[in-house]
C-alpha cells in the first residue's frame, strides 16, 4: 500500500530535535517501509532538506512556524497538488487535521494515532471532534488510558480504539548484568561523574511541576541508604537550558538534600541510554495524568526496576513484579518507603528489573509496535 504518515507541527522527523512522537515514528517507519511505500510529512528544519528519500522512505517537510494552522494549510496544499494516491493517511496526535485532510483526500483511509489528550474539550470542539472520529477508520492509542479519555468525550469512538503500546530499541538499551557494552557504558559514566559504586536513583524527563521530580528530591531526606545518589537527567524544554523558577526551586531543595542530587542538564537523545545503564532504580514521578511515559520502556529495557505513579496510563505498565506504584505522587514518604525497600535488597531489586526486561523483549520492541500497526493498516482484527 501507499501510506502517508503525518507528524505534528512541532518537531521534524527524523527526531534530530527529540520528541516522543518523532522517536516513535523513527522506531517503526523503517520496519513499516519493508512492507509498504512510506511517505512522512513533518515540519521543516534548518538542518534538513524540505524533501528527501532516505532508505526508501520519502520525507516531505512543510513549514509550520510551530502553528497548526500554517502546517495544515501546507499539508492541504501538498495533498491537493500531489499525484500520489494514498491508500492510508496515518495522522499522529492531531485530530484537528482529520477533517481538512479527509476533505482533500476523500478516498484515503484515515488512521489516527493518539499520544495524549488532544480530544479534550479545550483542544477540540465537540462538533469537530465528533466529525473527526466519524471520518477516522481506527484510532490507535499509546495506552488504554488515552483510549478511555477519548471514549469519555466521544463514546461513539469506542469500537475504533486500538491501544498499541510503544516500544524501545533493544540494541541500545540493555541490562548491564547481561551486556558487555552496557556494562562499559555503566562504568564510563559512573567514572565520568565520580559515582564509584553508589546506588543510583534515576529520574529522566522534563523538569516541570507536572512531571514532579521535586517530590523525589524531597523524598531524599527520608532515604536511609548512605551511599545513594539521585541523578536528574533532563531540561525544562528540549534543548533549552534556561533556568525556570521550578528548576530553581528543585535545585534549591537539592542543594540541601542529605543524599547527593546531580542534575545533568539536557542530554542528547542518543546518549540517554548511558544513564539507564548506569542506574540501579528508575523513578517516574508524574503528577499529571500522564498518557504513559516512554521512559518506562527504556528503563525496563535497561533492566531497571522502577517506581511510577498511579496517574494516567502509568499503572498499565506495572506488571509481574517489575516495579512499584506510588498512589499519591505528592507524598515524598511513599517514594522513600519504596526506595528504602529496593536499595536495601539490591539483589531482589535487580531481579525485578530483569523481569521488566523480559516483558519488554516479549511485548514492547519496535517490531511489536510495527506489527501491531500493520495489523491495523491491513484491517486484521487485533488480538485484544
Amino acid at each position: 500500500m501507499n501510506v502517508l504518515l503525518i507528524c505534528t507541527e512541532m518537531l521534524p522527523v527524523p527526531n534530530i530535535r527529540g520528541g516522543a512522537i518523532q522517536t516513535y515514528i523513527c522506531g517503526v517507519s523503517h520496519l513499516l517501509s519493508e512492507q509498504h511505500q512510506i511517505t512522512i510529512i513533518s515540519r521543516t528544519d534548518p538542518d534538513l532538506p524540505d524533501e528527501e528519500v532516505v532508505n526508501g522512505i520519502r520525507y516531505v517537510r512543510i513549514d509550520s512556524q510551530r502553528l497548526l494552522d500554517i502546517y495544515k494549510d501546507g499539508i492541504v496544499k501538498y495533498l491537493s497538488e500531489t499525484e500520489e494516491k494514498y491508500d492510508i493517511i496515518h495522522i499522529f496526535n492531531r485530530p484537528k487535521l482529520v477533517l481538512p485532510v479527509s476533505e482533500v483526500a476523500p478516498n484515503s483511509r484515515i488512521i489516527l494515532s493518539m499520544h495524549n489528550d488532544m480530544f479534550k474539550p479545550e483542544k477540540i470542539s465537540r462538533a469537530e471532534g465528533a466529525a473527526a472520529v466519524e471520518k477516522t477508520d481506527k484510532i490507535i492509542t499509546i495506552s488504554k488510558y488515552i483510549g478511555q479519555t477519548i471514549v469519555s468525550y466521544f463514546p461513539e469512538a469506542e469500537p475504533k480504539i486500538v491501544p498499541i503500546y510503544s516500544g524501545v530499541d533493544l540494541s541500545r538499551f540493555a541490562p548491564w548484568m547481561k551486556s558487555e557494552s552496557a556494562l562499559q557504558a555503566r562504568k564510563a559514566i559512573r567514572s565520568k561523574y565520580d559515582l564509584g559504586s553508589k546506588k543510583i536513583i534515576l529520574f529522566v524527563g522534563r523538569l516541570s511541576r507536572n512531571k514532579g521530580p521535586h517530590v523525589l528530591v524531597k523524598a531524599m531526606s527520608e532515604v536511609k541508604s548512605k551511599d545513594a545518589v539521585l541523578v536528574i537527567v533532563g531540561a525544562a524544554w528540549f534543548s533549552d537550558d534556561r533556568v525556570s523558577d521550578y528548576i530553581a526551586y528543585t535545585r534549591a531543595l537539592a542543594d540541601r538534600s542529605p543524599i547527593p542530587v546531580i542534575t545533568t542538564g539536557f542530554v542528547q537523545a542518543d546518549e540517554v541510554h548511558n544513564w539507564f545503564c548506569a542506574a540501579d532504580v528508575f523513578v517516574c514521578t508524574s503528577i499529571w495524568e500522564e498518557p504513559l511515559a516512554r521512559v518506562h520502556y527504556e528503563a525496563m529495557a535497561a533492566g531497571l526496576p522502577f517506581i511510577t505513579t498511579a496517574r494516567g496510563g502509568n499503572p498499565e505498565i506495572v506488571q509481574n513484579d517489575n516495579g512499584y506504584l506510588v498512589q499519591n505522587p505528592e507524598d515524598p514518604s511513599e517514594y522513600a518507603n519504596y526506595l528504602n525497600k529496593m536499595l536495601s535488597n539490591l539483589d531482589y531489586t535487580r531481579e525485578m528489573g530483569l523481569r521488566g526486561r523480559k516483558m519488554v523483549e516479549e511485548n514492547f520492541t519496535w517490531n511489536h509496535v510495527a506489527n501491531n500497526i500493520l495489523s491495523v493498516w491491513e484491517g486484521i482484527p487485533s488480538e485484544n
Binding site: T44, P46, D63, Q65, R66, L67, D69, I70, K120, P121, E122, I124, S125, R126, A127, E128, R209, K218, V243, D245, A248, Y249, A252, L253, D255, R256
Partner: protein, 545 residues
C-alpha cells in the same frame, strides 16, 4: 552574507556590569541591523540613540531623528509569530481610535520588517509625553481612565493569520493554582535553609498568606468567571499586561499607551488590579479613597459590571504582592533570605495591616455597578469578524528581509491602514473622521444597551441574573470571621473611634442563591460550547464566501 541571528546577549556582558548599564548596550551587529532595517523606510536618519534594551531576551528600542521628525525603531524580542499578534493589536487599536502610535509602513508598505529572526517596527515618537505623578490620586485616575479607554479599543480584536494567539483569558484558574503551589515552595525553601536570616520570618507568615490564597480561590471558583469567559476572547479584548506609569503617559489629547509587545486576551481588569495592588505596596498602606478613585476613573472610560467588579475585588484580595516579591527566593535562596527578604516581609506585613478593612468597605461598592448580561455566550458579530490584515505575513526561516508581491501588499494595506505617502494627509483625515464616526455610533449603541440593561435589571430585581451573582457580603462576612477580628481588636485599641466605624459589618447580607461552577466538567462543557459556536460561525462565514 550570513545574516546575524538575534539572540540574548547578556552572556556577552561582564557580570559586574550594573543592570542599568546592561540595558545601555547592544551588540554592534544588532545596531548594524537596525540601520539595515531603517533603509527599508522612506526616511533619512540623522541621529540614533539607544533608549533601552533587553539583553536577556534580545530586544531593543532606539529613538531616531528623521526628516519626518523623531521616531522610534524597535526590535521585538518575542518569537515572530507572537510579535505578529501584538503588531496586529497595535494596528487594530489605532484603527479604533486609541491613542497609540501608528506603525509606519516601509517603502514596500509593510508594517514591520523581519530581520535576524525577529520583527522590527517603526513608529512616530509621540511628543510631548509626560509621566503622571505617581500615587497622587489625580494622576492615577488619569492613568486608569486611559487604561479603560485602551481596553475599550481592544474589544473585537481578531489577530492576523499566521500569528500566534496569546491568551490568558481561560487561565485564571491555572494562575491562582500556580500561586498557591508556589507559596508552598516558599515554605519548603524556608525549611531547607533554616539558618538564613529571614527563614523564621517567612515561616511565620507563609501559612497566613497560603490560607488567604486558598480562601480566595474558593471564592473565585464561586464567582461569575466561567460565565464571563464564555463570552469569548474578542468580547473582552486585550490586557496590556505591563501597564503603569511608564507605559501610560500623558500626551496630546490624553493618555498614550506604549509598549504593546506583551498584550494578550484576558479579562482586562487584570491590568487595573496590578496597578492598584502594586501602588498599595508602594504606599505601605491600603488607601480606600485612592482605590475608589481609580476604579471610578476606569469605569468612566470602560464601564464595569457587577460581576467584573467582584472579580477585580477577588483578584485584589489574593496575596499578590507577597507572592510577587517573595517568588524570587527560589533562585538564590541563601543570598535572598540573608539580605532582602526580611525587610520585604516587614513591609508586606505593614501594608497588610489594613488590607481587609479596606477591602470590606470597598465590597459595598458592588451596588454601584449594574449586573452584566451573561445570558448569551460568545458574541457573534453581525459582520464577519475580520482578522487584522497586515499584508503578506509569510515568514521564512532565516530569511532576509521580505521580498514579495508589493502590489498585492498594497491592496491589503489600503484596506486596513493609511494610504501611501503621496496622498497621506488627505486620506488620513478622512480615515480619522471615519473612525470617529464609527466610534460615535458605537458609543450611542453602547449607551442604548446600558439603558436597556438598567431597565431590565430594575424590572427583574430578583430574577435569574441576580440569583447567579455571588453574594459579596456573604464572602466578606466569612473573611471577617476568620483572622480579621484579632487584628481589628488590636487596631481599635490604638485608634478606637475611627476604626470601629470603618469595620462595621456590611449590613445587607440578603440571602442570595449562589450558583456554583465547581466541577471541571461544567467548565469544560462551557469551553466546548464556545468552541462549537466558533466552529459553526467559521463554517457559516466560509459558506458565505
Amino acid at each position: 552574507m550570513h545574516e546575524y541571528t538575534i539572540e540574548p546577549w547578556d552572556h556577552l556582558v561582564d557580570s559586574a556590569t550594573s543592570e542599568a548599564d546592561l540595558e545601555q548596550y547592544v551588540p554592534p551587529e544588532l545596531e548594524k541591523m537596525a540601520y539595515e532595517v531603517i533603509s527599508h523606510y522612506d526616511m533619512t536618519v540623522s541621529e540614533m540613540t539607544l533608549i533601552t534594551s533587553k539583553p536577556d531576551k534580545g530586544g531593543a528600542i532606539w529613538k531616531i531623528e528623521t526628516n519626518h521628525g523623531p521616531r522610534s525603531i524597535k526590535v521585538l524580542h518575542r518569537q515572530p509569530t507572537r510579535s505578529l499578534f501584538s503588531i496586529g493589536a497595535q494596528v487594530y487599536v489605532v484603527g479604533q481610535g486609541a491613542r497609540v502610535a501608528p506603525l509606519i509602513p516601509t517603502k514596500e508598505n509593510h508594517l514591520y520588517v523581519q530581520a535576524g529572526g525577529k520583527l522590527w517596527i517603526v513608529t512616530d515618537w509621540i511628543t510631548p509625553l509626560e509621566q503622571l505623578m505617581k500615587i497622587d490620586l489625580e494622576g492615577a485616575s488619569a492613568l486608569c481612565y486611559g487604561l479603560g479607554e485602551f481596553h475599550r479599543h481592544t474589544k473585537g480584536y481578531i489577530p492576523p493569520t499566521g500569528s500566534a494567539k496569546s491568551s490568558r483569558l481561560y487561565r485564571w484558574n491555572q494562575y491562582y493554582e500556580k500561586m498557591i503551589q508556589k507559596i508552598g515552595w516558599f515554605r519548603d525553601i524556608a525549611h531547607a535553609y533554616p539558618e538564613t536570616v529571614a527563614s523564621p520570618h517567612l515561616l511565620s507568615v507563609v501559612d497566613k498568606f497560603e490560607q488567604q490564597a486558598l480562601d480566595m480561590y474558593e471564592k473565585f471558583k464561586q464567582s461569575s468567571y466561567r460565565k464571563m469567559i464564555a463570552k469569548g476572547e474578542a468580547h473582552w479584548g486585550l490586557a496590556h499586561q505591563d501597564y503603569g506609569w511608564s507605559n501610560g503617559q500623558q500626551g496630546p489629547g490624553g493618555i498614550w499607551v506604549i509598549d504593546l509587545d506583551g498584550v494578550s486576551y484576558d479579562l482586562p481588569i487584570r491590568d487595573l488590579r496590578k496597578i492598584i495592588t502594586s501602588t498599595m505596596d508602594d504606599m505601605g498602606t491600603w488607601d480606600l479613597e485612592w482605590i475608589r478613585g481609580v476604579i471610578d476613573a476606569y469605569h468612566q472610560a470602560n464601564p464595569l459590571d457587577q460581576e467584573t467588579f467582584e472579580l477585580l475585588w477577588i483578584d485584589m484580595a489574593f496575596p499578590n504582592e507577597f507572592y510577587k516579591h517573595v517568588k524570587e527566593v527560589v533562585f538564590e535562596p541563601v543570598n535572598f533570605m540573608n539580605t532582602e527578604l526580611d525587610a520585604i516581609l516587614d513591609r508586606i506585613t505593614l501594608t497588610e495591616s489594613n488590607k481587609w478593612e479596606v477591602l470590606s468597605e470597598l465590597a459595598k461598592d458592588k451596588e454601584k455597578y449594574l449586573p452584566g448580561d451573561y445570558s448569551e455566550e460568545e458574541v457573534i458579530y453581525d459582520v464577519t469578524p475580520n482578522p487584522v490584515v497586515l499584508g503578506n505575513t509569510e515568514f521564512k526561516n532565516n530569511s532576509e528581509f521580505k521580498k514579495s508581491d508589493t502590489s498585492k501588499m498594497q491592496q491589503n494595506l489600503l484596506s486596513t491602514f493609511e494610504e501611501p505617502k503621496k496622498s497621506k494627509s488627505k486620506s488620513k483625515e478622512s480615515k480619522e473622521s471615519e473612525t470617529k464616526k464609527s466610534l460615535q455610533e458605537r458609543e450611542s449603541l453602547r449607551s442604548r444597551i446600558q439603558r436597556l440593561q438598567a431597565v431590565n435589571s430594575i424590572k427583574s430585581k430578583n430574577s435569574s441574573n441576580k440569583d447567579q451573582l455571588v453574594d459579596l457580603d456573604l464572602l466578606l462576612k466569612s473573611i471577617l470571621e476568620d483572622d480579621l477580628p484579632k487584628l481589628l481588636k488590636k487596631m481599635n485599641e490604638e485608634k478606637p473611634s475611627k476604626t470601629l466605624k470603618n469595620t462595621e459589618h456590611p449590613s445587607s447580607s440578603k440571602s442570595v442563591k449562589k450558583r456554583k461552577f465547581n466541577s471541571n466538567t461544567e467548565f469544560e462543557s462551557i469551553i466546548a460550547k464556545v468552541q462549537r459556536k466558533k466552529l459553526e460561525h467559521e463554517r457559516k462565514t466560509k459558506k458565505k464566501k
